[in-house]
């Protein structure tokens, strides 16, 4: 970022104008637009992050709002007006109970291995379930776990966040309570081999950025 006290060769447009620009770019796109992309598209020296602050405030309580998804922003209709949009709503495939539970486990425990999902649910996870969630672009393969066998892990995608209107996985409903109750800890069966420390590291990583 350039030092604001240093005069730039290209004077950035006034903030009100930058706000209009951000508004136009976000409005035009159906997908969330990252801050990096906004910076790239606005004239040199612009500060879209600042423009976004006022713009978001301007749309508070309106029929459309600006939501933050991961590191990106998008206009979305206000949730209370959903009933007016019947025409636009797309019938989504009905997810099986196994798929919904698997999705929740990935979201709350990520990064999580298949074995861990099975341990929590108490049953095997079928191929179709994981496949369906990957197809929906709600979960993806994450980093391998640094434990014997180096199993792959699953994490949720930004598209998942966008779909459920979450800014980050920290906003998952009830996350704090679940964590406080110790229900997100990986707790091995007493007497079983101690869990390698790495596993716990993987757990925390996710929730701090």
């Amino acid at each position: 970022m350039s030092d604001p006290t240093e005069p730039s060769l290209f004077a950035a447009p006034p903030m009100a104008e930058q706000e209009r620009m951000v508004e136009a770019v976000l409005f035009a796109s159906a997908e969330p637009v990252t801050l990096a992309e906004l910076t790239q598209r606005l004239p040199e020296g612009s500060d879209p992050a600042e423009a976004l602050v006022t713009l978001r405030r301007r749309y508070e309580g309106r029929g459309v709002n600006i939501v933050k998804v991961g590191n990106a922003y998008a206009f979305r209709t206000a949730a209370d007006l959903g009933h007016l949009m019947h025409k636009e709503s797309v019938e989504t495939r009905k997810l099986s109970r196994a798929a919904i539970e698997t999705l929740a486990i990935v979201a709350y425990h990520q990064p999580v291995t298949r074995a861990e999902i099975e341990e929590i649910r108490g049953v095997a996870v079928s191929r179709g379930t994981v496949d369906q969630l990957i197809e929906l672009d709600w979960i993806r393969f994450g980093r391998r776990r640094m434990t014997p066998g180096r199993p792959v892990t699953f994490v949720v995608t930004d598209h998942f966040l966008d779909h459920f209107g979450l800014e980050t996985t920290r906003d998952l409903p009830g996350l704090k309570e679940l964590r406080a109750a110790g229900l997100l800890d990986s707790r091995p069966l007493p007497g079983a081999d101690a869990t390698p420390d790495e596993e716990l590291d993987g757990q925390t990583e996710l929730f701090e950025d």
Partner: protein, 261 residues
């Protein structure tokens, strides 16, 4: 499900036990943990405070009911039953002094932790699905604008594409059997041609295997293929009235003889 629980809650404990004995429907549960969670609901207490002993009893009753009704139980139900029976005996007996390993109380606490965690994840799943969802409660721009001034082609590929492509290449070999392995296959047409020219010599009963071509009895795969082809060809010839067939016993040698015109 909820109805079943409500119903169960209204009953006296003894009646409830009896009622549960009747709802032995293994298909209704997603494994032993799911069943245990359902059973634990009848205790109407915090999952951390459930009586694992009582739970073990209920589960074992369930399993024995299923057994009496001759319902097939998956192995994992039986493994759980064995483990709970073990846990139950450990819980009932005073700990042996100097015993190593986890205590029965630890094991019981872990089981209630598992149940509580499963219940919590189910609750979390339903809260997740109750969130405002894009395309259902909340909507994106209906007419995304795509002003074409400069055509910039961006090639897209997702990780899924990449993995599928790789999987396709690596498993190409698995598909090879679709292309018939000609080398080790003797077709019925070939056998028919061969037999037509040989049949003239079969004035007396002769074993079918003696008609197999040289070199086809060296490997089992080739022998099988040649035998099958010749057998089919002989049947065809018999149907056309060109040969007689006989077999003295099941699996005995099949013999053929030319049919005099």
């Amino acid at each position: 499900m909820a109805e079943t629980w409500d119903q169960a809650d209204r009953l006296a404990p003894s009646d409830r036990m009896a009622a549960e004995a009747l709802i032995v429907d293994v298909d209704g549960y997603e494994g032993p943990l799911d069943l245990l969670l359902t059973l634990s609901r009848s205790q109407k207490v915090d999952l951390r405070k459930i009586s694992v002993l009582q739970l073990a009893e209920q589960y074992l009753t369930f399993v024995s009911q299923a057994y009496q009704l001759r319902i097939e139980l998956a192995a994992d139900y039986l493994v759980m039953a064995a483990w709970l029976a073990y846990l139950k005996s450990r819980l009932l007996l005073p700990p042996e002094p100097g015993e190593l390993g986890p205590t029965a109380a630890d094991l019981a606490a872990h089981l209630s932790f598992q149940l509580e965690r499963l219940a919590a994840m189910r609750e979390a799943a339903s809260r997740l699905m109750a969130l405002d969802q894009l395309g259902r409660n909340v909507f994106a721009r209906g007419i995304p604008e795509e002003v074409s001034r400069r055509r910039d082609i961006r090639y897209e590929a997702t990780l899924l594409d990449l993995m599928r492509a790789y999987a396709r290449i690596r498993t190409r070999d698995d598909f090879r059997p679709f292309a018939l392995d000609r080398e080790n296959v003797f077709t019925m047409e070939q056998a028919l041609d061969r037999l037509r020219s040989l049949i003239g010599y079969a004035g007396n009963w002769a074993d079918l295997t003696s008609f197999l071509p040289d070199g086809w009895d060296l490997t089992p795969a080739r022998r099988r293929s040649a035998t099958a082809a010749h057998f089919a060809a002989v049947l065809e010839l018999a149907k056309r009235g060109q040969v007689h067939l006989r077999q003295s016993d099941t699996f005995a040698a099949l013999e053929i003889r030319r049919r005099e015109p």
